[in-house]
Symmetry: C3
Subunit: 145 residues, 3 copies
Amino acid sequence: MLEQHLSTLTVQTPGRGLVEITAEVRAAVAQSRIRQGLLTLFLRHTSASLLIQENADPDVRADLERFFARLIGDGDPLFQHRTEGPDDMPAHVRSAITATQLAVPIVDGRLALGTWQGVYLWEHRLRGHARELAVHVMGEAGKSA
Amino acid sequence: MLEQHLSTLTVQTPGRGLVEITAEVRAAVAQSRIRQGLLTLFLRHTSASLLIQENADPDVRADLERFFARLIGDGDPLFQHRTEGPDDMPAHVRSAITATQLAVPIVDGRLALGTWQGVYLWEHRLRGHARELAVHVMGEAGKSA
Amino acid sequence: MLEQHLSTLTVQTPGRGLVEITAEVRAAVAQSRIRQGLLTLFLRHTSASLLIQENADPDVRADLERFFARLIGDGDPLFQHRTEGPDDMPAHVRSAITATQLAVPIVDGRLALGTWQGVYLWEHRLRGHARELAVHVMGEAGKSA
């Protein structure tokens, strides 16, 4: 019998950069008691992203940040929208070319992540923010495959 | 008891740019009578995208358009595929770096969108098109959380 | 009555480029016997992507490859992470700006793909790899809409 669980996850970011949230997401799945199914994360903001990325070498995150900073420059005169500063519009563009939503299957009570995959919230604003995620878990509880 | 509803949504675009479809998507969710669950939108085209973006300042959409026009130039000599004109291949690239599919949780009969989030269909071709979306809604009907 | 099926799909890539997996994905849906529902694909790697793209003119895939090669150059001195060679970090960036996960509704036993849409696994490393996908299918079995 399929069932579902909805919850909310709040993540405080310290400023621009990737924050690993794999442990928090695993805890939400554990709390749902779903053992086989599908997790969906939805980020309720347009200046941050959700990302699956390598969780081994921290250089990967630093290089991602450097690449995005070069591709979408803060204060680029192309941008008209500067309401909240030079990092405002770049944050929206970064959000548009990455993801606002992620789904990960759940197998035997575990996220079906690859060996080197972690779940990240990518803060695109220079200043830290409290970011809210809607979490949907659906599937079968309490038995093995 | 979980149930699901499948439907189709057609959006006529006036040409390149972001068309807000939040109201149409809300109507599809209302019609499904699902009050707690998950909405999935799937765009049946490879030269347009689905996007969650800021729905307040229209400059954000104009800046997104300007950034993409600069990043992926119409008529770039790099591109061999020009069957339907200089905006043909750029539309495919724009589609590849944004999203063809979006999922949004439904809580108490409402999409779990953030305060400033709207759902957009992004037309990447210069000329307007009738764009078709497959809509999947699953969850529980007619009761509160 | 909704049900779900979890499976795994392994794809051997011959090296950098787009590999069409539409037939393999269709076979997984057929095996689930789900006729109305939702398919979710999740790629268990951070140096490859899932992509819905045009399956008609092969120039589209060649142009996508050329555009990405120019945008994210192998051996770019910006990148510190070169553990596995000059194509290592570019593969992570390519993965970040495309998709790790895709969902497609299933209608009357068929994926709701548009006429010109195919499902692709995009290998971003120069060398071929065995890539693993987690496949989740949920919905109703054995009856028409």
